[in-house]
Amino acid sequence: MKNWIILLIFCCFGWSAYSQDDLLGLLGEEETTDYATAAFKTNRVINLHSLESTAAGVLDIKISHRFGMLNRGAYDLFGLDNATIRIGADYGITNRLTVGFGRSSYEKTLDGFVKYKFLRQSSGKKVMPITAALFASTAVQGLRWANPDRENYFSSRLTYTYQLIFGRKFSDNFSLQFSPTVVHRNLVKFSIEANDVYAAAMATRIKLTKRMAINAEYVYVLPDQLVPGYRNSLSIGFDIETGGHVFQLHFTNSTSMIEKGFVTETSGDWLDGGIHFGFNVSRVFTVHKPRH
């Protein structure tokens, strides 16, 4: 008898609690996978490729400029009288696969690259601590042969770069990435130079406001591969975003804006004012709209 009363009370109580409860709670949480986005504002940090891809169907036109070195003094208006430029275009074939090409005034070089993101940082249902991408590029140097009388081969103009890019967006404001790099040069000037140059690159972004960030990158070239005089590339810059454009303003000791150049041919000395002021302007166009 007593038991039945308890059951009755329980039923009444249980029932009323059931209908008072918040309704969404009844459905329970459906676990979803949350992919990290926008670890960097664009697919470049400064010179280095960032772990970001260009979104599917998006064309990203990039115009990059490096003025002359600051230590050229007032006569050259601290480098502003000279400039090297790279004009390029990147396109997202899928959200993971980006291709691009560009033409640099520095050594009249044409370059093309493929980048494939094979891991995406995510939390929730599927947990992946990092984003990782493979990058490969080819550069064709276009200068006239220094010595046209001897037999010259087209292959001598070619350089290849392979990179594994991996990193993490630690918080909304802080992203960090590493990229082990190898640059293969078909032809080098001196026999003491390595054809395969191994380097380790590191880059970070610190977001200051919603539309502004500080970037920094450093490329450490393993010793005894380059002739003396070449230095590691160090760049520091600002990203400023204004709707469809991203302006990247920076200081760097590298003249070239492509891997084979800034990894193996950086000559500027930061301590001696061997620094270029430069900028990248990126403008995206949605060429192909995704279907809902």
Binding site: C11, E30, A38
Partner: protein
Amino acid sequence: MQKFFFLLAVILLVGGTVNAQKYFTRAGKVTFTSEAPVEKIEAVNQSATAILDTESSRMEFAILIKAFQFEKALMQEHFNENYMESSTYPKATFKGQIDDATAVNWGKDGSYPVTVSGDMTIHGVTQKLTAPGTITIKEGSIAAQSTFTVAVADYGIEIPSVVAENIAKEVTIAVDVQLAQLNK
């Protein structure tokens, strides 16, 4: 006597589950439209969660902000990063009820105009909201539609003056859900 209590208990249990009819979906459609002088921005979310209790006329909605799909990838990034701050405020919710509970005859097919009011939470800010809508009952399934506007500033979302011509101060939200009975 024991029998009586047993019966009462059974009636209450059964009665409870029969009366507390709940309908839900996890694939509701929510469309967001911003019409500004320079640009029309539209985004669709196809995975809204909604639940309706026909007994109490209460309704609740929850949507993941990141699930809004835009035509332009950059717009989607800006929407999440700069405006909705979806990593901090991943969801928007609405918890309310149909104002006039007698407006709908849940047992009879038909289309019933209703007014729904309750608490809307977007970008971590909760505001009272009243919106007109339609409940359509057809062969035991329930559909609900509603279109209303929200002022972006009410929810603490800042629009910088640079893009004031591109983003509307009031955006239109259209909700369209097909609910199925919840078996619990």
